[in-house]
């Protein structure tokens, strides 16, 4: 069995992560309950004939994937696997609004066509003329993880050698309004917001995309190897400890060999207790958090994995990411744990390579 390497990265988020290396410009915004991604200029990356139909998510996906492939020195990957929690919301809203407002008359096809969940993957394939395997997973907070797991299995068994994997989620107004209605998004009166020790319901919502070039050969550009992954549909808070311990045991890893653990705390008082293992199992481990920078969206764990990969490459945890004051003696093995509203739990174990 071959190993699975992260050889290229591309990240567009509420921080300036596309143009900088590793959060040099990062700032915490604790007054807005929705953070919008910082969009790069797309003119050079996407021909106007194609971009005229593209919503935010597709453009972000193309830009981030282009960066990830370039870094790994790959022209055309063998396969493209994407994950998205909510899909192409902008175009879905546009088409639905058209149906309802115009009573099903004078509707035009473009937004319908662009609303299918696999549009990002399809448009990337079209642009690259990549005829390989092309999957899209849409399952809340494990959408990206499923894509990564699928890619990991394929490169380890050499079913394919180079796979482009990405997570994308975009915001759209009506959906944001609905989420605010049911308190998925924090209320204005609960500002300023904090992702740690929060006392309010809901999250600071956001959007973004992270792409990874996954390969079974080590390269100069390699960040880390993905050693193991696990996803699980639902757990109670007191099952998390065992979930993580069993995973580590299955992969011949002990808690004290984890140099840093990345948690997906998002400031939702109803669910952040899932990360209480930070006070027990991982009390003495360097802890990292990131959703105060990225905001929350179904594929935000991509930002977390991006951080973990960069931490290993740069051999430093930027202070803006530090969740506790434990200083790691080395930075070789990192565990990432995420969940959303008690569902879609995922564990990713990466190692320096």
């Amino acid at each position: 069995m071959k190993k699975c390497y992260i050889n290229g990265l591309g990240n567009i988020s509420a921080q300036n992560t596309f143009e900088t290396d590793f959060l040099e410009d990062a700032t915490v915004n604790n007054s807005d309950n929705v953070l919008y991604a910082k969009q790069p200029s797309y003119k050079e990356l996407i021909p106007p004939a194609a971009s005229r139909r593209m919503a935010k998510g597709v453009k972000m996906g193309i830009a981030a994937s282009t960066k990830a492939l370039a870094e790994a020195n790959v022209t055309i990957p063998d396969a493209i696997i994407t994950g998205t929690g909510m899909g192409c919301v902008e175009d879905s809203e546009k088409f639905l609004k058209g149906i309802l407002d115009n009573k099903e008359q004078f509707l035009t096809p473009t937004s319908f066509i662009q609303s299918t969940h696999n549009t990002v993957g399809a448009q990337i394939a079209l642009g690259l003329q990549c005829k390989g395997n092309n999957f899209t997973y849409v399952n809340g907070a494990v959408s990206l993880e499923t894509a990564l797991l699928d890619a990991k299995i394929q490169v380890e068994t050499e079913e394919e050698n180079t796979i482009l994997v990405g997570g994308i989620d975009e915001t759209a107004q009506h959906t944001l309004d609905l989420f605010k209605l049911v308190s998925f998004i924090k209320k204005e009166e609960d500002a300023p917001y904090s992702v740690l020790n929060s006392t309010s319901k809901g999250v600071v919502f956001s959007e973004g995309t992270t792409f990874f070039t996954i390969e079974n050969t080590k390269k100069e550009s390699s960040y880390a190897s993905i050693e193991a992954m696990k996803i699980h549909n639902s757990l109670s808070v007191n099952e998390v400890g065992d979930f993580i311990s069993n995973f580590l045991e299955d992969n011949n890893c002990e808690v004290n060999s984890i140099d840093a653990v990345v948690f997906g705390n998002n400031g939702d008082v109803q669910y952040d207790s899932y990360y209480d293992v930070s006070n027990s199992l991982f009390k003495n481990t360097a802890q990292v958090y990131y959703k105060h920078l990225s905001g929350e969206y179904n594929t935000a764990s991509g930002f977390g994995l991006w951080c973990a990969a960069k931490i290993i490459k740069n051999q430093v945890i930027p202070s803006i990411l530090k969740m506790n004051s434990v200083e790691p003696s080395k930075l070789e093995t990192i565990l990432i744990y995420n969940q959303y509203q008690g569902r879609d739990h995922s564990l990713i174990l990466i190692k320096k390579c």
Partner: protein
């Protein structure tokens, strides 16, 4: 193929039946499920035909014994029903006994509810429970909850090839040892969103769909859900389970031609079929029946037909599309057609391509138009979706 993937159970609900048996009877008695839409109010009512399941949402809630305050979308209800039936068919008493997963597929997700309450949400608190039911993954979570499954639960959404891709990732998870068994399939309910969407593409027929016919006018949308239980050979042996058929090969490829239209020579379809044949180590001669994607759109049938001829050359086996029975059930299509492929293997029968009259100008192959008894050992099933997503799965008797 490294480890063979055994199919030990099936569950299905479509416009031609609520059970595998009902579906089979309709197929062999040539009883179509295409009709005029009743459950949805749409201005297009009289100019389209659909493969509608004649059960209201309320009736589905009752069938599933759901509590009054549930927030299942129609898609989730159809899915829960079919998943339960598949689990029963596979004689599974303890769903978590082995490492078990659920991989569903959908394109509509909870959109059938969202489109009902889109503006009402702001006026009426009672319907707000459906806001969290919109995304594709929620339907799958509900299905997992319904059967009490804890483990890998995820969803594929690649338009009309979705369920075939669910079968593929499910198989891959078994082969890699991540899972011992997995329930795979898809579900999609009819919705104004998709009806209007396909209408804007001008590929909906106002009459019964006629796949591979020279005068074909387009597709009939349908709704359905179907799931298969896949198990590794070791687990099958351990439990001494009856095997219905095997997944012996699969392939997915991207046409990379256009967002909705397929390339004229069916490159994506050709590659997918070749990949599946290679994985199964079968030659084209070994395929006894092709269950085609055959949506009856001018574009699909031309490019699929061309691709079939490219792969099989002058030895094209009998082929038919079963969409004249069920309509095009989008993300569920490959799942119900997987069930039909297994039925073909079990009963040594090829289902007719209904409504066919005129051979297409572009080639000299015609679909099988009558029910035919033939020894069937291997069936090749095609499903092609928007975004150039082309999938082929091969099912085998042994």
């Amino acid at each position: 193929m490294a480890k063979r993937i055994a199919i030990t159970g099936m569950g299905i609900i479509s416009s031609i039946g609520k059970t595998v048996e009902e579906n089979y009877n309709a197929l062999i008695h040539q009883k179509t499920g295409i009709s005029i839409i009743e459950n949805i109010e749409t201005i297009h009512k009289d100019v389209i035909k659909v493969g509608e399941i004649k059960l209201t949402n309320h009736e589905l809630e009752q069938l599933l014994n759901l509590p009054k305050d549930n927030n299942y979308s129609r898609t989730a209800m159809l899915g829960a029903y079919a998943v339960q039936k598949a689990v029963e068919d596979a004689s599974i008493s303890n769903i978590n006994e082995f490492k078990t997963g659920l991989i569903s597929a959908t394109s509509v997700g909870g959109m059938d509810m969202t489109e009902k309450f889109y503006y009402e949400y702001f006026e009426d608190e009672a319907c707000q429970k459906y806001i969290s039911a919109h995304d594709a993954g929620d339907a799958t979570h509900k299905m997992a909850e319904y059967i009490g499954l804890k483990g890998i639960v995820t969803t594929v959404s690649t338009a009309c090839s979705s369920a075939a891709n669910a079968i593929m990732i499910g198989s891959r998870l078994i082969q890699s040892g991540q899972l011992d068994r997995v329930i795979v399939g898809g579900t999609d309910a009819l919705a104004k969103f998709t009806i209007n969407g396909f209408k804007t593409l001008m590929i909906l027929s106002d009459t019964y769909n006629t796949p591979f016919d020279n005068e074909r006018k387009g597709l009939n949308l349908g709704e359905a859900a179907a799931f298969l239980v896949l198990e590794s050979e070791e687990v099958v042996k351990k439990q001494n389970k009856k095997v219905l058929a095997y997944v012996s090969g699969y392939g997915n490829a991207n046409d990379a031609f256009h967002q909705t239209a397929s390339s004229e020579n069916g490159d994506g379809a050709y590659l997918a079929m070749q990949k599946a044949l290679k994985m199964s180590s079968l030659s084209t001669n070994d395929i006894d029946y092709i269950n085609a994607h055959g949506t009856a759109t001018p574009n699909n049938d031309l490019s699929e037909g061309r691709a079939i001829v490219r792969v099989f050359e002058n030895q094209v086996p009998e082929f038919s599309s079963t969409k004249p029975y069920t309509g095009h059930t989008l993300a569920a299509a490959a799942a119900i057609e997987a069930v039909y492929s297994v039925l073909a293997l079990q009963n040594n029968v090829i289902f007719p391509n209904l409504n066919f009259k005129n051979q297409m100008d572009e080639f000299n192959i015609t679909p099988q138009t009558t029910l035919k008894e033939k020894e069937i050992n291997h069936v090749l099933s095609n499903s092609f979706g928007f975004g150039g997503n082309c999938s082929t799965v091969i099912f085998s008797k042994n």
